[in-house]
Symmetry: C2
Subunit: 332 residues, 2 copies
C-alpha cells in the first residue's frame, strides 16, 4: 500500500506539473484545473489516484488538461504537452489491478464473439452471424443482403422447415444408407448433421410439435455451425449457439415503432390502424417465443453483441456497418 | 398493374430456370426449390413477386437456390450460376416502389447520423459522438479512450460544471468586455458560446437550480457542437442535439447486470450486496433523469444509432469497434 501511495503521489505531481505548464503556454490561468496551492492539489490528486484510478473524477481532471493542451497555438509546445499527456494516460492505464483498473470483459461472452479482434479463434471456428430483428425494421432484408455481400449461406425459418421436410421425406423413402447420406449432402451438406438429426428426430418424438420443430431446428443450427459460415435469422439462434459454446456474432436490428408501422403500410399496403394492430401482435409473438425458449427478454441490448437502429442507416448502410464491424471491408 | 404482372412473370421464369439449372449441375433433384410442375411454380412465384417482392418467402426461395448454387463443384458452372443469381437479386432490388420495395431509412434520423456514409455533410458539420451508458459498463472509460484515440475533446458532467462555474466566476469579476471574451476563449474556446451562455444564464434565472444547470449545459453543448469535434458523455446530449437538428452519432454502451455488479465490486471494492443495492439505485436515477428531460425510455435501442454490449468486447475492443463504425481505422 505504501508503495501504491508513492506511485500515486509521483503521478499526481506529474499531472500537476503538466497542468501548470499547459496553462503557462496557453497564456492564461483561467480554467486552470488545479487552482488550490500545490501541496493541497497534489494531496487530493494522490488520494483520487490511489482510491479510484479509473474513476470519473480523475478522468475529468485529466481530460480538462488534455482539452486545454490541444488549444496551445505553438505547434512544438502543443505536441510536447500532448506527448506528456499521453504518457500520463498510459501510466494510469498501467496502474496495478489492485488499484481497481479492471476491464469489463466477460470472458464467456467475449470468447463467443468472433468479431473480437483480440480473441484467438481456431481454424474450425466459422463466421456465424445471428440476426434478431423486430418486424418492419428491414432486418430480413439486411440479413439477406449481408449474406450475399459476404457470399455465405442465409438461413431463416422457411429454409429450415424446407430442409427438415426434405430430411424427413428422404428418411421415409430411403433404402440404402450410403446413397441416403450422399443425397443428404446436397441438403444439409453434412452427413453427420443428417445422422445426428435423424437420431434426435426420434429422440424428440412425444414432444409437442412446436417443441419438436424448435429442437430439430436447434440441432440443425448447431451441426451446421460446425461446418460452414452462414447468417441465421431469428430462431433464438444466438442463445442456442451460446448454450453450445459455439462462437458467433449476435446482432439485433430494430427501428422506431412509427417507422416500422410506416414500412408495414408501404410493404403490405395496409391502412395505419391495421398496420399498428398487426405489428403489436407480431412483436408480442416474437417476445413470447424468444422468452419461452430462452428465458431472456427479447431485444434487450445486453443479449446481443450489437444493436443497430436501421432507421438511422437504411438497408445498404446497415450492411456496410456490419461488414465494417466484422472488419470485412465493403467492396464498393 | 398489367405491366407489373408481366415484369413479375418474366422474373419468376428467370428464377425458375435458374433453379432447374442449378440442381441439374448439383446433380440431384433433392432439395430442389420448385418441385411442382413448371406452370404452377411460375404462377405462384409471379404472385409472390407482384405482391410482396421484399417478402420473407421470396427471399427464402431465392436464398435456397443461392445456397445450393454455392455448392456446385465445377468452378466455371458455379460462377456462371452465381452471376445469374446476383443479376436476379438486382432485378428484385430494382422493382418499383409500388411493388413495396421500400428502405427503412428515416430521413430525419439518418440525416443526423454522421457515420452514415451516403449522407452528404457540410464542411461545418463536426464529428460529435454522444455516449450514453449504464453504470459499471465501462462506458466512461470507453468514451475517454475513444476521445484520445480520435484526438478530440472529451466532455462529461464534471467538465461542464467546471466550465460553467468558471464562466460565472468570470462574469462577476469582469470589467472590460473584450478582455473577458478573450479570456473565455480559453474556456469554451468560442466567445459566441460564452455570450450566448451568459444571455441564457440570466434567461433561466427563476428556474429550479437543477433545471437551470441542465439548460445551461444544453446550450453549452449546442454551441460547442457548432465549433468543434468532441465526445460527450450522458447529459441527454443525443436528444439535445437531435432537437437542435445537429448531426451526431449516438451510442449506448451497456453490459449485463451481473457483469456491472462485478465491475463495481472490483473498482469500488464493495461487497456484493452493497454493489447490487447501489447499482439499482444509480440505474433508477439515470432512467428518471433521461426520461424527465427527454420523455424517452433510457437505453432503448431505438433511441440510439448503435448499442454496444461492452462485456463482449472490453474497453479497447469497444473503442476499435466504434472507430471502425465511423470508418476511422485504428492506428494500431
Amino acid at each position: 500500500m505504501e508503495n501504491n501511495i508513492e506511485t500515486s503521489r509521483a503521478l499526481a505531481t506529474r499531472i500537476y506539473d503538466l497542468d501548470s505548464e499547459v496553462y503557462r503556454l496557453v497564456g492564461s490561468s483561467l480554467g486552470r484545473t488545479f487552482t488550490g496551492d500545490k501541496e493541497t492539489s497534489i494531496r487530493n490528486l494522490t488520494t483520487l489516484i490511489s482510491t479510484h484510478p479509473q474513476g470519473h473524477l480523475l478522468r475529468s481532471e485529466i481530460a480538462l488538461i488534455g482539452n486545454m493542451a490541444r488549444t496551445i497555438r505553438n505547434k512544438e509546445d502543443r505536441s510536447r504537452m500532448m506527448h506528456e499527456y499521453n504518457e500520463i494516460l498510459h501510466q494510469i492505464a498501467e496502474l496495478p489491478e489492485s488499484f481497481g483498473s479492471v476491464d469489463i470483459l466477460d470472458q464467456n461472452l467475449a470468447s463467443l464473439n468472433t468479431s473480437n479482434l483480440h480473441q484467438k479463434f481456431s481454424k474450425d471456428d466459422h463466421l456465424i452471424i445471428c440476426i434478431g430483428r423486430t418486424h418492419g425494421s428491414a432486418g430480413t432484408d439486411i440479413g439477406f443482403a449481408l449474406a450475399d455481400a459476404l457470399k455465405i449461406n442465409y438461413y431463416d425459418v422457411e429454409i429450415f422447415n424446407r430442409v427438415l421436410e426434405r430430411l424427413e421425406a428422404e428418411k421415409d423413402s430411403v433404402t440404402d444408407r450410403d446413397s441416403f447420406t450422399s443425397k443428404l449432402n446436397q441438403v444439409a451438406k453434412h452427413d453427420t448433421s443428417a445422422k445426428r438429426f435423424l437420431k434426435d428426430f426420434s429422440r424428440y418424438h412425444g414432444l409437442p410439435k412446436k417443441d419438436a420443430v424448435f429442437f430439430n431446428q436447434s440441432d440443425l443450427i448447431v451441426e451446421m455451425a460446425k461446418k460452414e459460415d452462414f447468417i441465421v435469422m431469428g430462431r433464438c439462434a444466438d442463445v442456442i449457439l451460446t448454450n453450445n459454446r459455439i462462437p458467433h456474432i449476435s446482432i439485433f436490428i430494430t427501428a422506431p415503432f412509427e417507422q416500422r408501422v410506416r414500412r408495414m403500410m408501404e410493404v403490405n399496403n395496409l391502412p395505419l390502424k391495421e398496420a399498428v394492430r398487426r405489428l403489436k401482435k407480431i412483436d408480442k409473438g416474437h417476445e413470447q417465443y424468444y422468452h419461452f425458449y430462452t428465458g431472456r427478454k427479447w431485444g434487450d441490448a445486453v443479449n446481443y453483441d450489437l444493436c443497430i437502429n436501421s432507421a438511422c442507416y437504411g438497408i445498404e448502410e446497415s450492411v456496410e456497418l456490419i461488414e465494417r464491424m466484422i472488419d470485412i471491408h465493403p467492396e464498393k
